[in-house]
């Protein structure tokens, strides 16, 4: 066993080395590439700075994340509701499960041209795309949770003559919550994919729109800058998702 400080130093060196390696690789490859293929990190950051200064990036973030927020929000609400319904109403579950699973398995991106044709291109159609991308994880996770409530806990509830309302309040909902949150975490990630897809394939604005127009103008620096922003957004959302999930599952800590 190494002493504590040495292990910590080594860990820090690892992380620092990772960052340095990435930065150096980016910079070196960038400086040896044709500008329409790849550019340096510094050029990318410079471009990022100017996109912030001239307001295009903030505007794009607002555009994209208002779609994202609406889509994910509705998906979470309807997903939870649908999940509970499917879990508790057997007829619905038996009847619709195969179609839901089928739709869940379908690469939904292929439906985008149809959504475009049917609903158009503005705000709400994009919300529909985000919604479709992230409703299923919530729905299925909620259903799985509500359907798998530990038998023993249900027995406890019945033994003590709990009312229907008490069973929901004290058993089903608390038990399902962590499952639901796992679905929410997945939804946060998938919603981002839906958001970018909607931006690229429906009306091209927001972050995806920036990507498209950067591509139109052969501006690799701008594309990389946008990708960087999207990555940071993704990491932040994943972190938030994991925190929320962990918080609601804290009692699940088991031996």
């Amino acid at each position: 066993m190494q002493p504590d400080w040495r292990r910590r130093t080594r860990a820090l060196a690892g992380y620092a080395g990772g960052v340095l390696l990435g930065v150096a690789a980016w910079q070196i490859v960038g400086s040896h590439s044709q500008p329409q293929i790849f550019v340096t990190l510094t050029a990318t950051l410079r471009h990022l700075g100017s996109m912030i200064d001239d307001g295009t990036l903030p505007q794009a973030l607002v555009n994209s994340f208002s779609v994202y927020g609406a889509g994910v929000g509705i998906a979470i609400l309807l997903g939870a509701l649908g999940g509970l319904l499917l879990a508790r109403i057997r007829v619905l579950r038996v009847a619709f499960e195969p179609y839901i699973m089928g739709l869940y398995a379908t690469p939904l991106i292929a439906l985008i041209p149809f959504i475009l044709a049917l609903l158009g291109y503005r705000f709400w159609p994009k919300v529909v795309v985000v919604f479709l991308f992230c409703v299923f994880p919530v729905l299925l996770a909620t259903q799985r949770g509500a359907q798998s409530v530990a038998v023993e806990l249900m027995e406890v509830a019945k033994l003590y003559r709990s009312s229907e309302r008490a069973i929901w309040l004290h058993v089903v909902i608390p038990y399902t919550l962590p499952f639901f949150m796992t679905g929410v975490r997945q939804a946060l990630a998938r919603g981002l994919v839906g958001m970018i897809a909607a931006d690229i394939f429906l009306s091209a604005n927001g972050l995806g729109g920036l990507l498209v127009s950067a591509a139109q103008q052969f501006s690799t620096a701008e594309m990389l800058a946008v990708v960087l922003v999207i990555t940071v957004a993704g990491l932040m959302l994943m972190a938030v998702g994991r925190l929320v999930e962990k918080y609601f599952a804290r009692w699940r800590v088991t031996g």
Partner: protein
């Protein structure tokens, strides 16, 4: 029970015997009947809504059925289907091998984890679709781009999941192999790898869906021939009914690929399904 609505108070907690006793209930309660009814309902609503409010070229069930023979006798369709299927399978195989190796290394060697972990997380957190325009610049408007996109899309969940699995190898199993003085390669091949297999499968399950998304996105953006291209070109020519057949083919592909993985698991990895 005949209403189908289960109040919690009245539902038996251990339902299996009541399920068995109740059998399938009245004939209209049989699963097959319910499913067909639901399918018909979905199609009817779709037909009605689209028929009443949408432009005439928007896909609708009757049109899709009408165009089905046309598509199924179209060589271009099979060419595109084969192209996408081939790319997805090759991409998944590359992702499986490469992702598993990378995942094992990242999961077991903490130094590697520290250096590479952030890049794996970063890529995993971002929608790969945002990278497609760049990958197109780097690898061309070609099937190579599609393959690269598929490999990245499919590889990341595998790396992620396998790394988690490699970290979670029960200490006991490692100790058994150390105790019996197994050489290092037996520890990796005989203990770490098999212990990570369930995680590989979990990763592959995610990877299939993502691989198809990647394939379609690449075909849309880089105009590579395949089912996505088939969809796009037909929608843009106001032939949505034909395009929708390709969507159905994509869905079928996803379901079949997952079923194949499940089947393989059931067949060859019974120990994992039972002890999971």
């Amino acid at each position: 029970m005949s209403s189908g609505v289960e109040t919690l108070r009245s539902t038996p907690v251990r339902g299996d015997d009541e399920w068995a006793a109740a059998g399938a209930g009245p004939w209209w309660c049989r699963p097959a009947v319910l499913r067909i009814a639901a399918g018909v309902l979905i199609l009817a609503v779709w037909q009605f809504v689209v028929g009443s409010w949408a432009p005439h070229y928007v896909a609708r069930p009757i049109g899709v059925v009408r165009d089905l023979p046309k598509v199924l006798t179209d060589n271009v369709f099979y060419h595109d289907l084969g192209s996408t299927l081939f790319a997805v399978i090759v991409g998944l195989l590359i992702a499986l091998v490469g992702g598993s190796l990378l995942g094992l290394v990242v999961g077991r060697l903490s130094d590697v984890q520290r250096v590479l972990g952030m890049y794996v997380s970063g890529l995993y957190a971002m929608p790969i679709i945002a990278l497609v325009p760049l990958i197109t610049v780097w690898f061309g408007y070609s099937a190579t781009t599609r393959l690269v996109v598929i490999v990245i899309e499919a590889g990341l969940p595998i790396v992620y999941s396998v790394a988690e699995g490699a970290r979670a190898v029960p200490v006991m199993h490692i100790e058994v192999s150390r105790l019996y003085r197994a050489p290092w390669w037996r520890v990796w091949g005989g203990v770490v790898l098999p212990a990570a297999v369930p995680y590989v499968l979990a990763g592959v399950d995610l990877a299939i869906g993502r691989a198809l998304i990647g394939a379609v996105a690449a075909e849309f953006i880089a105009a590579v021939h395949g089912l996505g291209y088939y969809v796009l070109s037909h929608v843009n020519s106001f032939k949505e009914d034909q395009a929708f057949v390709a969507v159905l083919a994509l869905a079928l592909l996803a379901v079949l690929l997952r079923a194949a993985v499940n089947g393989a698991t059931r067949r060859w990895l019974r120990w994992y399904r039972q002890s999971g």
